[in-house]
């Protein structure tokens, strides 16, 4: 039976986007069933304006040059791979309300749900990660 990986993304920096999406896409490539719950600033990762919103935290600016040198794929490309390989992207309803975000503010293919939706998926997970 396929393994299940449940991930919580609660930070909004570019570095967090890579941590979350690298693990999610690789897990999906390994035939795992993957779900990511985006909450608080993690919602930036699936925002239509992710390219503008995802910045590096103070003190980490030097990573930008490294990302380019290492030819790290764009966040948009990783999100596309994630969607194509069946990664479930869940936006947290409660933080959307707090941050005044609508489902239309996110890229296509994002589901909206609450904590119970994520937990229902996570209870049967083999691996649970929080970023």
């Amino acid at each position: 039976m396929a393994k299940r990986v449940a991930i919580i993304a609660s930070h909004g920096g570019l570095d967090t986007a890579y941590k979350v999406l690298n693990i999610a896409t690789t897990a999906a490539a390994t035939d795992a069933e993957v779900g990511v719950f985006f909450t608080f600033d993690g919602l930036n990762i699936i925002h239509k304006d992710a390219a503008k919103r995802l910045t590096l935290p103070p003190g980490m600016e030097a990573y930008m040059e490294g990302f380019q040198r290492a030819q790290v794929p764009a966040v948009a490309e990783l999100l596309q791979v994630a969607k194509e390989s069946g990664v479930k992207l869940i936006a947290c309803q409660m933080t959307m309300d707090v941050m005044n975000l609508k489902k239309e503010d996110f890229i296509d293919g994002v589901e909206v749900g609450g904590a119970a939706t994520f937990l229902d998926f996570a209870y049967d997970a083999d691996v649970t990660l929080a970023f």
Partner: protein, 191 residues
Amino acid sequence: MENLTVDKTIDCTGLSCPMPVVRTKKAMDALQAGQVLEVLATDPGSVTDIKSWAHRTGHQFIGTVEDGKVFKHYIRKVNPDEAKPERRHPHVVSNAELAAELGNQPVILDVREPAEYAFGHIPGAKSVPLGELERRLEELRPYAEQVVYVVCRTGHRSDMACQWLSEHGFRHVKNVVPGMSAWTGPVEREV
């Protein structure tokens, strides 16, 4: 090193994690069981990543060759039936029995894919991939009256080769089981 014969090559040079694994997965999905994929990558992490990926997904990691700055990874798509080979050819010898015969320079046919053969085969074994058996029948004909040992990785492909050779007039064909997956005798490499 000369190029190995493979069924497909994908170029992941310049790509960083996780793209080599993501592209490998996509390419493997499109292959038929038994076919071999070559993955070209410059990401040093791919050396352990591709191996782990193959292990986790049940495919056969054949090996990696370093060619300048490029890593060439070889993976074979595994047929789920291979785990439990049907050994229908009645004449079977163990790895140990074949190892004991090596001093007498026996005829050994290795029916795995060329890339698998290149990464390690029994000294003196002749590479005849299963899919080429029919085309190379005349070349093998001189062995029809001799004892011929047929080997693959787990005994599945060699079983099919043994049956086919027996049907085509080879009188003393023996399937070596389990084969190279458990071979502890001498090995020669081409890479």
